[in-house]
């Protein structure tokens, strides 16, 4: 191997082979997971490699590339059909959409559609041969229909069998897989420990020395250190080759390894992709860090995917050589062969249709032809139809709910008392609903949680600036949170450092030998107290800890450096910027007149204990962080008189008596904290108290509504009991499900609140406020869709793929997770870096694409798709299902197969309830949309 390598090394500059390697890497890196260090979890389309393709095609390609399931399996779908979640009508509609026109068949099957339906409902997947034999011999249901089975055999026997080359190819693929797995068993543990140590960003007390040359160079140097280390049995030859390996660049090493493995040039891309996909998490992390170096601490060692590939291929070459010398004879189990498989499928269908043995024997040629065409209706096609039926059922419920909830006159609330601007997160849907149920004069709006103020923010307690905006936006402003009184701030800072140092020296240094010994008595005492109390009374412990921290640290009052006076100050927003930001957000949500005296703006975030995936619960529109500072900044800007003057010139009239308050909603504990309350004018203090009272009632009811989805929450909880329960969930270290997250998400609704006010959506919808009557050309809608579309679709698709195949697309169960570096989690001590969502976060999720209902004419939507590429890919590829609601008439049209097609809502009346809690009282599971009419509807 290395003689060839030396020859390559002496070739001039960039040889064509190296160019080909670079192209192969660029292609393969596209296939790798795109998740960055887990401290900031950003939901994105798991199949981003195929996002330019239509959804179903992309899912098929993903299944092929990643050996993963792209839909729920057929047995699950059949169970859903049995339970009524999918009805026969849904199935028929999906079949109509999928396939060609219905063709009549003979007396046996009736019509092609009937045959397809039977194929879906009867389970025609052919089991492996041993299982088939057992079923034929032992299953009583099968034995009872022996006659039918014999007919099926007789009738299908005249077709020739599958060609032998198919069986041989399956065996070859199986052997290759086995070989690959054996190589992985040898290479992976070593490679993982090397990568973990190399990429470590400050967890290990002793970092790897001299990492500046990249992984490959560092590894070769480390292996070359004399005296030589004992090597594993498959790497004994490594010492001999180290000198030659040291002379190669990583790319040259890759080329040399490919030549040694005798991979033909045409298959290099495929080989490289397969080598990288053996450890997709680690490879993906290298790729990600290479492309986004700012996601790491400054001074971190360089991460290049080619280094990873070089080390991997070199190790693989040694492993392969060792395995080749060991004789292994492995023959994989054969699948059931052709004729028997076909007969079984016919038998299942006939049994489902209730055909007799004679009827089957007497089938006509047109029947036979129809049956043979079923070969095209394979598992992938059937799953597509199931998925469309599954989504169609929910979409139909939403359509009829929206249609019947539409008021006679669609308009804003008359003389509102309190207005609230929330993030459009699905978890806020219920808070908004409960708040509105309290009084007809309460009005709520939904906007992306960064409220238009994209900024690099440093809170008082952080060390670094972090961007608070969607990932596609690059903030151009910096804002800091500073103490109002600098001395108190300095005192706080000093005490915080001291506390951190004490904690570090207690826990972190318990890894040292003597240091750990000395710290043991104190630690033992604290653990003996904290462990039982933390397990048995987590809420109390959290409260005490919080109380102690407040007492000892005395967090000072703070202000934001929001306003930029001079042009060369890098912090804050200039006056013009502030006017523009506030105007844009208010125009987006359609709140340009009719302001209430108090308008509160709530960002959101989440708190949980013992959870590496904590950031997955945070605000996606804020880049996976807490949105409180954005809300606070927005409110401060909107309160500034100079800004209001500028807004008046833009057409947004904010009366003088109106005051904006910013705050944050903790979606795990349902706590709401409002900021800068001491600045509220005295005239509004009474209203402020009333607002806080109403918010307290609303959040307690929202907690009660949430608790019905928690198995460990007792039945019949009162609202206050529910608040206690969710707080203890968030504080408990043994709770892997601190809150629901986006597990209920299914749809997005962009339009006026009047359309959805009073509609119980079961926390399944992103509700975004938008007023089409104030938006002539669709420019506002374009802004909204361009910002919210990718965020919403990303969240929905992340949950979809992690649900349908959690082992491949998600990160498996949380139980064996082991946080590594500051990068992510791996299973055990040397497993792959896992990406995606854990099992515990997606268990009750219904995997559906986002059903996006937008209150705009189809022509407007089509025009936006023309202009915005991201939106076009999502809509035309049907990654989201777009429904247009006509602003004037309310007529709905679904975008399907390239065009908008009208939907007629079903005629049955939507259920009606007096308030949300009575509707969902005591019921588990997802509830269809219902109209809440008892309490209040807006006037007019």
């Amino acid at each position: 191997m290395l003689d060839l390598a030396e020859r390559h090394a002496t070739e001039a500059a960039v040889s064509p082979e190296i160019r080909r390697i670079r192209a192969a890497l660029a292609h393969a890196s596209h296939l790798l997971p795109d998740q960055g260090p887990i401290a900031v979890f950003i939901h994105h389309n798991t199949l981003h490699a195929f996002e330019k393709l239509p959804f179903h095609e992309a899912v098929a390609r993903g299944s092929q590339t990643y050996q993963a399931r792209g839909y729920l399996d057929e047995d699950t779908f059949r169970a859903l059909y049995e339970s009524g979640r999918i009805t026969a009508a849904d199935l028929d509609e999906a079949l109509r959409d999928w396939g060609p026109e219905d063709r009549p068949l003979g007396s046996c099957f009736g019509s092609a559609r009937r045959l397809q339906r039977a194929a879906m409902l009867s389970g025609t997947a052919v089991p492996p041969e041993p299982v088939l034999r057992w079923l034929l011999a032992e299953d009583p249901a099968v034995i009872a229909r022996r006659d039918l089975w014999r007919s099926a055999l007789a009738v299908t026997a005249s077709r020739p069998d599958a060609t032998p080359s198919v069986a041989a190819r399956a065996a070859l693929v199986a052997r290759q897989e086995l070989e690959a797995r054996s190589v992985d068993e040898l290479v992976n543990p070593l490679l993982v420990r090397l990568c973990a140590a190399f990429l470590d960003q400050g967890v290990a007390h002793w970092a790897m020395p001299d990492r500046d040359g990249g992984l490959y160079r560092t590894w070769v140097e480390l292996m070359s250190v004399r005296p030589a280390a004992p090597r594993p049995h498959w790497l004994v030859d490594l010492d001999r080759d180290l000198d030659s390996l040291a002379r190669l660049s990583p790319e040259e090493a890759v080329v040399a390894a490919l030549h040694e493995a005798e991979v033909p040039g045409s298959r290099w891309e495929e080989y490289v992709a397969r080598a990288l996909l053996a450890l997709p998490g680690w490879a993906g992390m290298f790729s990600r860090l290479e492309r986004h170096p700012h996601e790491r601490a400054p001074g971190s060692p360089p991460a290049h995917l080619v280094d990873f590939l070089a080390v991997r291929l070199v190790l693989e070459s040694y492993a392969r050589r060792t395995l080749a010398s060991e004789r292994r004879d492995l023959h994989p189990a054969p699948a059931a062969t052709g004729a028997i498989g076909r007969a079984w499928r016919l038998f299942s269908i006939a049994r489902h249709l209730g055909l007799g043995a004679d009827a089957l024997r007497a089938w006509e040629p047109v029947d036979r032809e129809g049956f043979e065409r079923l070969d095209a209706f394979d598992e992938a096609a059937r799953q597509r139809v199931w998925q469309e039926a599954y989504e169609g059922h929910y979409r139909a419920q939403l359509v009829v709910g929206l249609a019947q909830n539409r008021p006679a006159v669609v308009g804003p609330v008359d003389s509102p008392r309190f207005q609230g601007v929330f993030c459009f997160d699905d978890r806020e849907e219920s808070l908004r609903r409960h708040f509105e149920e309290l009084d007809a004069r309460h009005e709520t709006f939904g906007a992306p949680g960064f409220f238009g103020v994209a900024m690099d923010f440093r809170s008082f307690e952080d060390g670094d600036f972090a961007p608070l905006c969607p990932v596609v936006v690059k903030p151009a402003h910096r804002v800091e949170e500073l103490p109002v009184e600098p001395e108190r701030g300095a005192r706080f800072e000093g005490r915080r450092r001291l506390l951190a140092r004490l904690r570090h020296s207690a826990h972190g240094s318990s890894r040292g030998l003597l240091h750990g010994l000395v710290a043991l008595p104190l630690l033992g005492l604290s653990s003996a107290l904290l462990l039982p109390l933390g397990l048995l009374a987590p809420r109390a412990v959290a409260r005490i800890e919080g109380g102690l921290r407040d007492l000892l640290l005395e967090r000072p009052e703070t202000r934001l450096t929001a306003h930029r006076d001079e042009d060369d100050d890098p912090r804050g927003f200039s006056l013009g910027d502030q006017v523009q930001r506030v105007a844009a957000t208010l125009q987006n949500i359609g709140l340009t007149r009719g302001f209430a005296p108090l308008v509160f703006v709530l960002g959101h975030g989440s708190t949980s204990a013992n959870n590496p995936h904590r950031s997955a619960y945070d605000c996606g529109a804020c880049g996976g962080r807490h949105g409180g500072p954005n809300a606070r900044l927005f409110a401060e800007m909107a309160n500034r008189p100079a800004v209001r003057e500028g807004l008046a010139r833009c057409g947004v009239e904010i009366p003088e008596g109106t005051w904006f308050i910013g705050g944050q909603h903790d979606t795990a504990t349902d706590r709401i904290t409002l900021a800068d309350l001491n600045r509220v004018p005295s005239a509004l203090r009474g209203e402020l108290a009333a607002l806080r009272g109403h918010l307290d009632v609303a959040r307690a009811r929202q907690a009660q509504e949430r608790c019905r989805r928690f198995a460990s929450a007792p039945r019949g909880l009162s609202p206050d009991g529910a608040l206690g329960h969710v707080e203890s969930r968030a504080a408990s270290i043994g709770q892997p499900r601190p809150e629901l997250g986006h597990v209920t998400v299914a749809s997005g609704l962009v339009g006026r609140r009047a359309l959805t006010r009073g509609l119980f959506l079961d926390r399944r919808a992103f509700v975004i406020s938008y007023d089409p009557t104030q938006d002539e050309g669709g420019a506002v809608l374009e802004r909204i869709l361009a910002a919210a579309g990718p965020v919403g679709a990303g969240i929905n698709l992340e949950y979809y793929f992690s649900r349908v195949d959690n082992a491949r697309y998600g990160c498996g169960t949380k139980l064996p997770h082991n946080p590594v570096g500051l990068l992510g989690v791996m299973e055990g001590s040397s497993g792959d870096l896992r990406t995606g969502l854990p099992q515990q976060m997606i268990e009750i999720h219904e995997p559906m694409r986002l059903q996006l209902f937008v209150e705009a004419a189809p022509s407007t939507l089509l025009a936006i798709c023309e202009r915005q590429q991201g939106v076009r890919e999502l809509v035309v590829g049907e990654w989201v299902r777009l429904v247009s609601i006509d602003p004037d008439t309310g007529a709905m049209q679904l975008f399907s197969r390239g065009a908008f097609r009208p939907i007629t809502p079903a005629a049955e009346p939507v259920p009606v309830a007096t308030d949300s809690l009575s509707w969902c009282d005591g019921r588990d599971g997802f509830l269809p949309p219902a109209r809440i009419v008892g309490a209040v509807r807006h006037a007019a």
Binding site: A39, A174, E177, L178, E185, A197, G202, V203, A204, H205, W206, M208, P209, D210, L222, M223, V225, A229, P230, R231, P232, A297, L330, H331, P332, A333, G463, A500, R501, H504, H507, G508, S510, R511, G516, L517, G524, S527, L531, P532, L535, N610, N611, P612, A711, S732, I733, G734, P736, L815, P816, H817, N818, P819, G821, L822, M826, E827, G828, S829
Partner: protein
């Protein structure tokens, strides 16, 4: 003499978890698997009851000065001169340990109810937890080496099965096999030691076995055999490389076994068999050497680990090494105190291992680095070549696993492959196809 109800309470405390295991096992075997609520209630109630009984015993014993006391339950079997007596020995150390085991297991059991909610292996986990508790209580409460051996084996079995808890993946299964192999190898020491003690002293009962000091080579060999067993269970060098691998199980069981209880069983063995070591300076030297060597190498290896669980596992190993040193020096009281404190601390830290990521980030934002002072010192004093050599060795945990693999495992595998080939040749069997292991169910 202990009052009757105290004796009954002690026996009940040790027997209850086993009763829970049996009833849960039989229930799952003959009927539908019980619901999560039923399972957790059954097992947790016995764990808390067992703790309450032990607390009562401890209070009564402390007040009345009733210990040390033997609690004779019965005879399992007798054959000729030999009788397997079921006897508990309650004295200061064993009561302390009994309380520790019962309390820690109950707390981790409480943790596990929510932690393992909806896991398909919920019932299996609680079965193993109950079996472990009974085994560990037996181990620390045993009145003779024979009974201690029974508890020892139960702990080893449950440990293996919990490492391989996620048996649908090949990684955990392979790790559990490795753990099991090392346990078996080292348990040979305990078995041979028990047999030898019978031959020499006539009994392994702790109150009578140490009556006469041993002489000759037996005095060295016997303690060394027991040391072998302790090394295996407590993951000391050279047989300690299984500990990082054992982190494949759920966090809760990793905390209970390799933070709190099972990993300290070797120390307990040394404490109990202390009198045997008192008369053999060579054996004591061996204990100290093993302990000190492990402490130093594990600390250095632990400094380069970048993942939470392995770092904690290596820190545990190092502290247990220190406990071995303390036992070797004859400071049994200190070793016991060290054990109890360390067990609580490490169990808690391992339960909170998933928080390590955010804790490290919080440290960074407070402007603190995680490098220790010693590292800075070492980096200034030692030449870079030596540092790199030391780093590489630490990263591979001083190559212990590689050495054992190449010197022991590979030859055994080669020999068995050779035997396999000869068998095939001689029997002239057609080669039967093997099926590939399933990766997912």
């Amino acid at each position: 003499m202990l009052p009757e109800f105290i004796r009954a309470a002690a026996v009940a405390a040790v027997a209850l978890p086993f009763v829970a295991f049996l009833s849960l096992g039989l229930w799952s075997f003959f009927a539908e698997a019980p619901s999560e609520r039923a399972t957790s209630r059954l097992v947790l109630s016995t764990l808390w009851l067992s703790l309450a009984a032990l607390a009562a015993v401890a209070v009564a014993a402390a007040r009345g000065g009733l210990v040390p006391a033997e609690v004779h339950v019965g005879t399992w079997f007798a054959s000729g001169d030999y009788a397997f007596e079921l006897e508990l020995l309650l004295d200061g150390p064993s009561l302390t340990m009994l309380l520790l085991v019962a309390a820690t297991t109950a707390l981790v059991g409480q943790f596990s109810v929510t932690y393992l909610h909806r896991d398909p292996g919920f019932t299996r986990y609680f079965l193993l937890l109950a079996l472990f508790d009974s085994g560990m209580l037996l181990l620390v409460g045993a009145g003779s080496l024979d009974l201690l051996f029974c508890g020892w084996e139960l702990v080893g079995l449950t440990s293996t099965l919990l490492v391989g808890f996620f048996h649908e993946r090949s990684g955990p299964v392979r790790s559990s096999l490795q753990v099991f192999s090392i346990y078996r190898l080292c348990d040979l020491g305990l078995l041979l030691g028990a047999v030898m003690l019978h031959l020499v002293a006539g009994t392994t009962d702790f109150t009578h076995a140490f009556a006469r000091p041993l002489h000759g080579s037996i005095a060295v060999v016997l303690p060394l055999l027991l040391l072998l067993a302790a090394i295996g269970k407590s993951a000391q060098s050279p047989f300690g490389s299984w500990l990082p691998r054992a982190m494949e199980g759920p966090t809760a069981s990793s905390a209970l076994f390799y933070g709190a209880l099972s990993v300290h069983a070797g120390v307990w063995l040394l404490i109990r068999m202390g009198p045997l070591y008192a008369h053999s300076p060579w054996a004591r030297l061996a204990v100290i050497a093993v302990g000190a060597g492990t402490a130093v190498t594990s600390t250095v290896a632990g400094r380069v680990q970048s993942d939470a669980k392995v770092a904690l596992g290596l820190a545990t190993r190092a502290q247990v090494g220190l406990m071995f040193v303390e036992c070797g020096l004859g400071w049994h009281r200190l070793a016991l105190a060290h054990l109890v404190l360390h067990s609580i601390v490490r169990g808690h830290q391992l339960l909170r291992a998933p928080s390590s990521l955010h804790e490290a980030l919080a440290l960074r934002s407070a402007g603190l680095e995680s490098h220790g002072a010693i590292d800075g010192l070492a980096q200034r004093l030692l030449p870079p070549q030596v540092l790199r050599w030391l780093y590489r060795a630490a990263l591979d945990e001083f190559h212990k696993e590689t050495l054992v693999d190449r010197m022991v495992v590979r030859p055994v595998l080669r020999a068995s492959a050779w035997i396999d080939r000869q068998e095939l040749r001689l029997s002239r069997q057609p080669h039967r196809p093997l099926t590939a292991p399933a990766e997912r169910t």
